[in-house]
Symmetry: C4
Subunit: 133 residues, 4 copies
C-alpha cells in the first residue's frame, strides 16, 4: 500500500497541535457547595506515539511567576490535569487569586481549559480552547 492510500484512521497517530499554549484566565474558586467540587482542568491530548513532557508556568498579577512544574502525557492518551494538583518544591497555585497559565511541550499536543464553579449553590461551567502560539 502506497503513501497515497494511508487509511483515514492511521493519519491520526502522528503528533498534532502546537508546542506552546496559553490560558490567560486562570482562577481556582475558593469555595464549593453541593456534591461537586469547584475545580479547573488543563485538558491535554497527545495524538502521537511518544510521551509528551509538559513544563507549566504560572503568572500572577503582583509577584514573580511560578515556573517549571512538570507533567507527562503518554502517547495516544489524554490527561485532564487539575490545576490544584500542580506542585513544585512544595509550592502550589493559591486559591482565589487571578493567574495565567502557559504550557510548553516537547511534542505537539492540543490543550483545552475548563472550569467548574460551585461557589454559589448551583454549578457553572466555562471552557475555552487554549491559545496556541
Amino acid at each position: 500500500m502506497g503513501d497515497t492510500e494511508l487509511p483515514q484512521e492511521k493519519a491520526a497517530n502522528q503528533p498534532r497541535g502546537s508546542l506552546f499554549w496559553v490560558i490567560p484566565d486562570g482562577y481556582i474558586p475558593p469555595d464549593s457547595r453541593g456534591e461537586l467540587l469547584s475545580h479547573e482542568s488543563i485538558c491535554v491530548l497527545n495524538c502521537g506515539n511518544h510521551a509528551a513532557r509538559l513544563s507549566i508556568d504560572i503568572y500572577f498579577e503582583e509577584r514573580e511567576p511560578l515556573e517549571g512544574m512538570i507533567e507527562v502525557v503518554e502517547g495516544r492518551r489524554t490527561r485532564h490535569i487539575r490545576t490544584a494538583s500542580l506542585e513544585k518544591a512544595g509550592e502550589r497555585i493559591p486559591v482565589g487569586v487571578p493567574y495565567a497559565i502557559t504550557v510548553t511541550s516537547d511534542v505537539a499536543v492540543i490543550i483545552q481549559y475548563s472550569r467548574l464553579d460551585t461557589t454559589q449553590p448551583e454549578l457553572a461551567l466555562m471552557s475555552v480552547m487554549a491559545y496556541p502560539v
Copy 2:
C-alpha cells in the same frame, strides 16, 4: 455571469473548514436532574454539496483508544451528534470518565463541541469551537 460575479450566497455552497478536529475535554456527566438530560454534542456543519464521512476516535487516560466510529453528515446539512449515541461493535463511551475526541472527515467541515450538565439541580452549559489541525 463570470466567476468574478459569483453571488454572495452561492460562495457558501463549497466545502469549508478542516479535515481534522480535536476536542481535548470530553466528559459525559453521569447524573441528571430536572427536565433536561445531561449530554454532550459534537456539532458538525457540512457546507458542501457532498456527504462527509466522519471517523471519530476516543482517547482515554489509562487505556487504549476506541477508534473508528463512523458517522455521516449529508451535504448542506448540520448534525448535532450526541456522544452517548456513538457505538462501535457494541462498545460505547463510558460515562463519568475524562476522555478526548478527534474527528477525521473526508470533506472539509466545521465542528463545535457543547456540553449541558444538570448534575446539580440547575443546568450549566459550556461550548468551544473544536481545534482544527
Copy 3:
C-alpha cells in the same frame, strides 16, 4: 507624520476580521423561566468606516437550508443580533431544533456567538468565537 508613525488608536479604524464565519451549534431554547428570556445572539463588530451587509444562512438536520437573511452593521458599530428576530419572506428559525449558522459579509467583521438558556429555573450561558474560514 509618516506611515510608520500612525498613532496606535487610528490603526483600529480599518476593516478587521474575516468575510465568512461559521457557528455549527445553533439552538433557540423553547422555554424560559425567571426574569431573563432564553435567547441566542450573533454578536458582530465592524471596525471599519463602511457599513457591512451580512447574508445569514441557516442549515438544518433534515431539510434544505434557509438562505439569504440580510442584516446590516454600520461602520464603527457593533450589533448583537437575536437569532429569533431573523426573518425572510415570513419564515423564521424554528425553536427547539438543532441548526447551524453561516454569515457572509461584504466587509471584514469579527463574530462571536452567545446563548443564554433559562429553560430550568436558573440561567446558563455559553459563548464561542465563531469560526472564520
Copy 4:
C-alpha cells in the same frame, strides 16, 4: 551552551501572541444576587520582559465609540481587568448595554474574556479566547 540547547523554560520569556484583539460580545450585567458580583474581565498575559501598554476601544450599537482607555500590564505578569473599572475623562462603559471591545497593545500579549452573571439567583459563567487579528 549554544542556541540549540536553550532550556525549555526560557523560551517562554519572549513576547507572545498578537497586538490587536477583539471581543464582539461585551455586556455588563446590571444586577447581581448572592455573594458574587456580576462582572466581566479582560484577562491579559504578558509573557515578555517589558511592560505592555494597552489602548482599549469600546464600540456601541447606536453611538460613537469610546476610544483610547489606557491600561498597563507589566512584563511577566497577568492582569484580569474588570471592564466596569475602565474609565476615560470620567466616562465609563454603561451597564445593561450590548457593546464590543478591541484591545491594541504595543507588545504581543494573549487575551481571554470571561463574564460572570448572577442576575438570576445562581451564577453563570462564559469565557472565550479573544480574536486576534
